[in-house]
């Protein structure tokens, strides 16, 4: 049975308390949140296999540190959506502001619109699928996980990244330090096919280019100082 929560009427603390109280064994799995009206920290710190539909746009940190839950936002999200997500899924029907998926360790973030700058910054295992474009400095110092961009990428993509994998279908304005284009091998096509399907995107994996770390900056070398 759908649980309905009017955020405007009942308040943020009550919402997060109710959602965080759900356990792995809960049978109250479908929730909908009405009147988010740009509120910050909506549905943060969840740790149960519940489905939360947010009926409108949110402010900062929607779904922050999510575990297990599926959160679908019928609107756009402010900065830091799905930050440090551990598992579960967050689907944004609209656009995402800065730092979407920042430091995420796991799970999947899907952004059906565009994402602003620093999407996937310091990502640590999360998979991010963006249907539109992403802004500058995305995947900065990205450690692990996969960022898929169906549109274009802004300046300095993947600057100083580590082992994260980046796939971009459109143009890349520029690559950041130590980020290079790499061959698309069959295993990458397969990986991408699965991510696109999971990300509710019908793009063809063969249309993407792959980017990753040249690994030149992994250990400091004075001869590479000019690359920073």
């Amino acid at each position: 049975m759908m649980q309905t929560f009017d955020l405007e009427a009942e308040g943020l603390r009550a919402l997060n308390t109710a959602l965080q109280a759900q356990t792995r064994e809960t049978n109250q799995t479908p929730w909908q949140v009405l009147n988010p009206k740009g509120a910050h920290a909506v549905a943060v710190g969840l740790d149960a296999p519940i489905d939360v539909q947010v009926k409108g746009s949110t402010g900062y940190y929607c779904g922050g540190m999510n575990k297990q839950a599926t959160i679908r936002v019928a609107g756009s999200v402010g900065p830091g959506a799905a930050e440090n997500m551990m598992s579960g899924r967050i689907i944004v029907e609209g656009d995402a502001s800065q730092y979407a998926g920042a430091t995420g360790h796991g799970g999947m973030l899907v952004i059906k619109g565009n994402a602003a700058s620093r999407c996937g910054i310091s990502m640590k295992g999360i998979d991010i699928v963006v249907h539109g474009n992403i802004g500058h400095m995305s995947a900065f110092m990205a450690q692990s996980g996969t960022l898929v961009v169906c549109g274009d990428a802004g300046d300095a993509l993947g600057d100083s990244l580590y082992e994260a994998r980046l796939f971009v279908r459109g143009s890349v304005q520029s690559l950041g330090a130590d980020c290079v284009e790499k061959d698309m091998r069959p295993e990458h096509i397969e990986l991408l096919r699965g991510l696109l399907e999971a990300g509710e995107c019908d793009a063809k994996p063969e249309e993407f280019k792959r980017y990753g770390s040249a690994r030149k900056l992994y250990n400091f070398d004075i001869d590479n100082a000019g690359d920073y």
């Binding site: 308390t17 910050h40 920290a41 900062y60 900065p79 830091g80 620093r118």
Partner: protein, 448 residues
């Protein structure tokens, strides 16, 4: 015509430059040979005005003391009383500062927890996350929330007794960190989600907020995730203490931590450590004034760190208005870091006990700042914890001794009027009179 080389003519003695000292020249030669700046651990080694430049006045005709061994002098303090449901209750106002697993060995972190718990105080995680042995041995554990977010997860966040939002640290305000590849063991690599053996850079700024307006929302998120139960500290390196304190409070901090330039780091550039930031002494009064101007002194607690070594330092920092202090380097020395018993090994590393600061290289003879199993085996966490407990107790007794001599039955009753300064610089920074005078330099303008 005289002969310049005649032994009968007095010669000019060789004079070493005060600017180009042997140490400066050696660094120039080292830089020329290697092409890389010097990286080291620890805090500023240069002489800066410090708490040593202050003296307590003690009791006299106008003040009467408390009996040293008979009358009570409270040392307990609550941190996080502003918003948190569960403030941290400390028996002593000396906490253990954040130091990472990775920079330190697992047993060293365990020892810090053991010692702090036995003394009734808190210890703090660091860049790299929370280890089970640290959580298990720490009755009160502060979880650092750092720009790198290495090892960051909501489960550990909820295990913490407080959260410390690290904006900066005194050794390198404005700088990130670097854990060199030789210290990246399998365990460290796994906790940080990075390959083994590579240099691990810690970001200098947070990835998902910028500025105090964002920070207010970030703190809201952390409180929502932890149910508003635990205190949230904001730690800054000492740079603009009046404004930083004001902004941290505005952002919602329960506790402000200010770390002076003598505060240590596991590794950064020597030029950064020695040339960026303020001495600890210079940042306490401006931070206190910020709290007073907001009407929140004592409601938002102030923790001061950076070069705290003994009970006198504790008492002086508190007399200037701090609610508590934090120690890092001193705690490592108490555990056994830089102990002369390892002198032969220090010599092999080209240094000497007391000067060893290449903590980032992972070859610590004392087995503390290393991930090398053989070196780690030299360190006994139980014995280390006992030593730290003893040291903390001595510091507390020393601070109480001074407080009683000033007629105070609580360390937090110490006040600037109990102090004088030995130098003009210290008088100006601390806002107390130069010894033997009523002159407080620098009081014509605001303390900011």
């Amino acid at each position: 015509m005289s002969n310049d080389k005649s032994p009968n003519i007095p010669r000019t003695e060789p004079i070493m430059s005060a600017t180009f000292t042997p140490a400066v020249n050696a660094e120039i030669r080292r830089a020329a040979a290697t092409g890389i700046y010097d990286i080291r651990g620890g805090g500023a080694k240069r002489r800066v005005p410090h708490l040593d430049d202050l003296l307590f006045l003690g009791a006299s005709m106008s003040r009467y003391p408390l009996e040293g061994y008979r009358e009570r002098c409270n040392t307990s303090v609550s941190l996080g009383t502003r918003y948190a449901q569960n403030p941290i209750e400390l028996d002593i106002p000396i906490t253990i500062a954040g130091m990472s697993f990775g920079a330190l060995s697992g047993p060293a972190k365990e020892a810090l927890g053991r010692g702090a718990s036995a003394a009734g105080t808190s210890t703090t995680t660091g860049d790299g996350g929370m280890t089970p042995e640290e959580r298990g041995q720490s009755s009160k554990l502060v979880y650092q929330y750092l720009p790198s977010r290495y090892g960051m997860n909501p489960d550990d966040l909820r295990k913490a007794d407080a959260i410390e939002m690290v904006v900066g640290q005194g050794a390198k305000p404005g700088g990130g960190g670097m854990l060199l590849g030789q210290k990246i063991s399998d365990r460290v690599a796994e906790m940080r989600t990075l390959p083994k053996g590579i240099d691990q850079r810690s970001a200098c700024r947070h990835p998902d907020w910028t500025g105090p307006d964002d920070l207010e929302i970030k703190i809201l998120e952390l409180r929502e995730i932890t149910g508003w139960k635990v205190p949230i500290y904001v730690k800054v390196g000492a740079t603009r203490p009046y404004f930083d304190t004001t902004l941290a409070v505005k952002a919602g901090a329960d506790v402000v931590v200010i770390d002076g330039m003598q505060g240590g780091t596991a590794a950064t550039q020597d030029v950064f450590i020695e040339h960026v930031g303020l001495p600890t002494l210079a940042c306490i009064r401006p931070a206190v004034k910020a709290l007073q101007d907001l009407g929140l002194h004592r409601e938002v607690q102030l923790v001061v760190s950076g070069g705290i070594r003994n009970g006198a330092d504790v008492a002086k920092a508190m007399a200037l208005g701090a609610d508590a202090v934090a120690i890092g380097t001193a705690a490592l020395i108490a555990l056994g870091d830089n102990d002369p018993k390892w002198e032969a090994d220090y010599q092999k590393l080209g240094t000497t006990a007391g000067a060893y600061d290449d903590w980032h290289e992972g070859q610590d003879p004392a087995g503390i700042t290393t991930q090398d199993p053989d070196l780690m085996a030299r360190f006994d966490p139980v014995e280390g914890g006992r030593r730290l407990r003893n040291y903390l107790k001595v510091m507390t007794l020393e601070a109480q001794t001074i407080a009683r001599a000033c007629g105070k039955n609580d360390l937090r009753n110490l006040e600037p009027e109990d102090l004088c300064a030995l130098t003009i610089e210290a008088a100006a920074m601390a806002g107390v009179p130069l010894a033997g005078t009523s002159w407080v330099p620098g009081t014509s303008g605001d303390i900011t």
